[in-house]
Symmetry: D4
């Protein structure tokens, strides 16, 4: 028995071979959302070819890290495609999706907003309701406290911070919900491209914090949505998918 028969079976999952890409048409079933295109590192021709294949399926579409040039070409492919410039995302929403629970996104500073917006658009396209609180870092912590009621209504909170990255620790000391912490590369000197806030968040004294990669707004939005989606009662979830 040189190769287990079982593995042959697994081959039957649907995908499409473009040579430079193997488009995974089974992902929506397995992961709850279709394949997402990370534009960075791909040529325009590759991005467009993959997008065309994915857009053949009904349902939502997401292309992240899209610069304005490729965004322009992508939005021409579908009449509901929208370019979210600050988030650098081209998205086609799935209007049948609608969830109850909601996600709150908090940033320490103004310069963390692009990453927060990537998270926001991602979570919304996936089906979560999102509220935002931007520029509420600890140098003026009352700006957060004033609006903390919104934190307590959240089912999950995303905290985005560069520089010293302390905001997730502080938020973690105030609430009992899961927190998704996103370090950003904002800062200078010994920030080392986001390493400093990344380490701060990993070492947080407060409990209940999961960390994603530096500047990974997409990953944070996706994780927050999964946490949020799990909180919805089965009857309501069925409508969505």
């Amino acid at each position: 028995m040189s190769i287990p028969k079982a593995l042959n079976q697994l081959r039957t999952l649907p995908f499409e071979d473009l040579g430079f890409a193997s488009v995974d048409h089974h992902r929506a079933l397995r992961q709850g959302f279709p394949e997402v295109i990370l534009c960075e590192g791909k040529t325009s021709a590759q991005i467009l070819a993959i997008a065309k294949k994915l857009l053949k399926s009904k349902g939502p579409f997401l292309a992240t890290r899209a610069d304005p040039t490729i965004a322009k070409r992508l939005t021409r492919l579908h009449r509901h495609a929208v370019y979210h410039e600050m988030a650098r995302i081209v998205a086609v929403p799935d209007q049948t999706r609608q969830l109850e629970g909601h996600v709150v996104i908090v940033t320490a500073g103004t310069s963390d907003i692009p990453v927060a917006e990537e998270a926001r658009v991602t979570a919304e396209i996936m089906g979560s309701q999102v509220s935002t609180l931007y520029d509420v870092g600890v140098a003026g912590i009352h700006r957060l406290l004033d609006r903390q009621a919104i934190l307590h209504e959240a089912r999950v909170v995303i905290v985005v911070a560069g520089m010293d990255g302390v905001l997730p620790s502080v938020v973690g000391g105030l609430i009992d919900r899961p927190i998704v912490a996103v370090p950003t590369s904002q800062g200078y000197g010994a920030n080392f491209g986001g390493l400093a806030p990344l380490l701060t968040m990993l070492n947080a004294c407060s409990s209940g914090i999961g960390v994603v990669n530096i500047d990974n707004g997409f990953g944070a939005g996706c994780l927050a949505h999964r946490i949020n989606a799990g909180m919805v009662s089965p009857s309501k979830k069925k409508k969505v998918r």
Copy 2:
């Protein structure tokens, strides 16, 4: 107006000053669980004094990273206190807690089990149901696949892995639930005390993964419990707290 009146108000939250420790008696209300003692870095006298204060309150008790010597002394303080040796935890459970949703903990290898056990005991004491799948790394991936039904029943999955830390990426490709990834310091050479699996997990291609600190089983258990707790319907949660 030199100091805002508002801050005076905040002083009224209850805590107890032992000189070397300020025991936070409000944490159970604010965070959903009382203060937890991290034994590492504290003297035996400090640990015991803090423990005595905390044990005066009813409700669960948790002391992590407890070596056998301090564990012996701690377990004498309360008749329901138990030492979980592999997890290095002394715990007093709160028998009124009972949740529906459950957490699955997966390890890549046998040597990752102590960290996984720290996560397990933490989540259970906090009120989650936990199942475990140990030693199912990618060198023999069928060991995971054989029992994957349990993954699909989980509300959240904790994946614990040292060495290359690839297991969360693989699990992430199979399911649509939130994943808490825990790198361990198991390995040698260019593992650099867990840095290698930590970076692997932060850079995971699969979506929906939040990472905690190296060897931080407690943090993983706590985050997973918060995700799990959020999924329970309000009526049932009331019973618990």
Copy 3:
């Protein structure tokens, strides 16, 4: 008691919500100086909107890391606004401020001057008198010794150095005043963007040295001013604020 009443009180501190920024109008009272704009990482529109809000208050104004384009637009907002090109700062001074004590800023080389100037303008706008000694590194230590009388008159000394970053250690061996050490990213090779002088300064054998982030002239100027301000007799301080 789900959320402490006390926290409600804290909300009353004044701030202004611009959506992308929460301008902190209480900072001058709490910190002794109004909010400062770090231009890096913000769009021109964001910078100008925040500046307009801050300039409504009387008192000093500071915008750091301003490139010539944004500087031109900022200086148009206020008739006393000045662009300090080498320091990359746009500032509006508060002419009522006047302090006795003074700060001395020393650089090891000519290429460290931009960071030193950021510190100088910051400390001056905050209200300190500043003297400078530039390019007096240890390759020709007599250049420092010749003018060391000025060091002994300082209430605090800022030492700015790139490459090997040894100057704070040497100055620290000569005087008994607090030293604020600023590593710069000047250098090449194993300088690693300022990491080398940062480590040198943190490990300084000489006593009485506090280190700020690489290239952080603003932080150094602010810390030096706070040390200097504390040395002034209360009667004189009242005039300033």
Copy 4:
């Protein structure tokens, strides 16, 4: 005896001194392939001068990391010279070379393809047969399993992956052939220019994996060819060289 006589003898190996380069005309005999030009870090004049010397010998020619400008000038030097744009290689094949065994190159994503192509062209010019499987990462592992028969036919497998770099570990769990793992600098945040997948691959739990430098497609192609070449029976090898 100031200098051993023996070393004098070694001097007789042929090379050609161009002042800025010492062209090694003995390398084909010693290493099985002539000297290869790494274009990065050399001036156009240097590259062309070295290329002219090397092209005087019959046999294959390889210049890697060639940008389109230098590629245009290089391809004019020899009528069989071809520019492989994605691989950034200018090559003159040696049509007498023909091997039996074959190399399979696998990538985790589309953005890893340039490195994979560098490996492919290198191995082919050296005389190996190559097949490719692109974009088969673990987020949709069935894409690899569907075509795994080709893995089992390989004499050696090159696995190219950026981001988390987990694919070599997974492939290593499925086959018993030597694997050459190539980390790429594709990714962001805590990827640190390919450090993350490099560490993942060095720490792989699966056995039989050798790692080359980040983005080093040439090195991978060369190593894979040497492994493949060794597998051919002596009678067949004689034809090739």
Copy 5:
């Protein structure tokens, strides 16, 4: 002129050559405090010989990082010598010293206390009044706020924190005094022996923070004392020295 005459003059400052140590008898005049012995890295014989020389002068004496064995031998050398066990310091106070201003030392956790105590004993022996607030980290920030009046009375605040090191940023947002931040090596995993809190503190968003080396309680105490000493009116300082 091979060697400048000027340098000959500098030779006349007093020091004593023990072969393995050059005891600097001029330091009290130049730096305001006699030479301090760092016991780590020296043999017992070396420590005792240096201590004997230093104790011949009247005035304070300080030996840091003293383990109990050497401490026992050192305390026998002088009848006022005291071993501060948690601070690991042997000290002889100078009873003529007395300062007005005071230093406040804050720790995030209980396990940061040894470093804080090293700072406390150092600052007190040098002549500062010190108050302490231990275990007031952000996981229960009300513990700090309750006693913040003491922060506002401080002339300088030392903040000691391991793990995520966020406390200095938070304290920095509340007061307008200079802050000396001390990262400790308390923590695990990606704490990397104190690197995480060190980077957090260097990147602090709040202003007015100077950082010392990891676990460097002595350096923090010394810097805080120098800041504090400068704030005292000249007439009072004369009494002290």
Copy 6:
């Protein structure tokens, strides 16, 4: 279709669940060698329980990183089990294995021998013939050259080196065979536990070098065996397996 049927099939591969370990009984078929026990990080009880399960199958057995205590207990489990002390391996050979091709292992120094021996025993137990050349580093390169005929007879060469790790580059310049490079943690100072030779080897100018983890003699032996095994003609391989 919530979970693909195909995956169910894969479950049928044989493994044995011990709770703390999932012993993979299919590995010999899939990988050409049974599961190997890495003793580090496992308790004695775990090691012995896994060993007993594995020893029930006929065929070779390998337990690496075994200290003398566990080695003594393991060797009692099987009459052909031998403890290779310098290699820290307990092995049961499979006498039916016998290969033609051979592996040469070279070390730079005497202190690299334990890692080399781990590679040697691993490759031999797996079925390769091995020759060794120890302590032939570049400080006296003639020691290698004198015996280089053996290098040219090798099908694959393992080069083990600590400190500067230059030997693989030098060997790579002399031969045309694949090289497996193993950095060791031998050295001091800026060796950083083997990081220095690891980087040297990854950046080797010479071609045809694959690198394994620091001190990973097992991995090197396994990779070399796979390369060697592939070189044997099919008719002969059949005898072996």
Copy 7:
């Protein structure tokens, strides 16, 4: 005695204060060579002003890291000024200098030549005779051996190498002269901007090697000249200075 009189004396050493630079006119006496201008990090105006002051003195002149624009302006300041383009140096030689001993500079590759040329021009302007051997790395070690007679005639050898940086170790095994090793930033991937060859050289097994900073051709040329200058008999040195 608040400030030692001795230090006043040291002030008399000559220097010139330009505000942004303190030109050290005593350096030629103290260090054997006038102050050298590192152009990187300075404005054109600063460079030209310093150059004018230095060129007032007779004797050699050296400005390193000069781009073509500033070089053009500098060469206009003195009729003997020459721009060495590959070395990026503007120099005015001192024709009275003439030394006997000579320095040999060796590079591993062609792309290391710019750094080697910086060393060559520096050493020559300082007064050493220099020979060069370029592109003699270990991939074809006979290229070095063929011309090794020149190594044995050197009083000091500079070895310049990027990528793996192994050449100094190999040269160190062949000769008994001091070696100055210069890592370059040539390479890619895990080269980390020259960190890899830097570590290789610091960990060299061969003896008698001193390392300078990455790409620091100037430093290497200067150190080699000092070693070489020391070897000349006193009678001959007098002529030179």
Copy 8:
């Protein structure tokens, strides 16, 4: 022509194969000093066997990093063998060696002395005259200046420093001789085992500094001796060798 004839010749250099060591009997001729044993990483049996072989030759003998146990056994092998305890060296001097020039060794602190002593014994056994100046760091720089005449008489200066490692930069500003800088692992916190002083020294602003590995007293002594030896006139050198 499979293997060049020339290489056969090189094989004739004398060495002795002990299996675990290839003792290089030609090194004294090639390098000016016999092979030196680095005891760390070798077993006692290996050290003794190599020592016996080396002691058969007349001439000096050096074994470094020898702990007292192995030192005791080594000193029994030869009646002139001496254990230098602080230097951790067992040495047999060669009384025919005698050089004119001399080496000066300077340390910043008392705790750097063991490394300095390793350098001193090494240089002396190789034939250099050595003077020492210990504990003259920049916290009291007059201790160095007082005795600087000895620096000016040196032909080469070794500077040993841990913590901030600034002493070589300062010494480099005072003299025109080559400097060998040795970072030590003395220090704490962000010293990172000597990385901080290593980087300081590599980035030194002063010229003429070559750096050796952390704690590498042997390497420093050897390099200094080679520099010193080259300075002696040929007639005198002949006597020595």
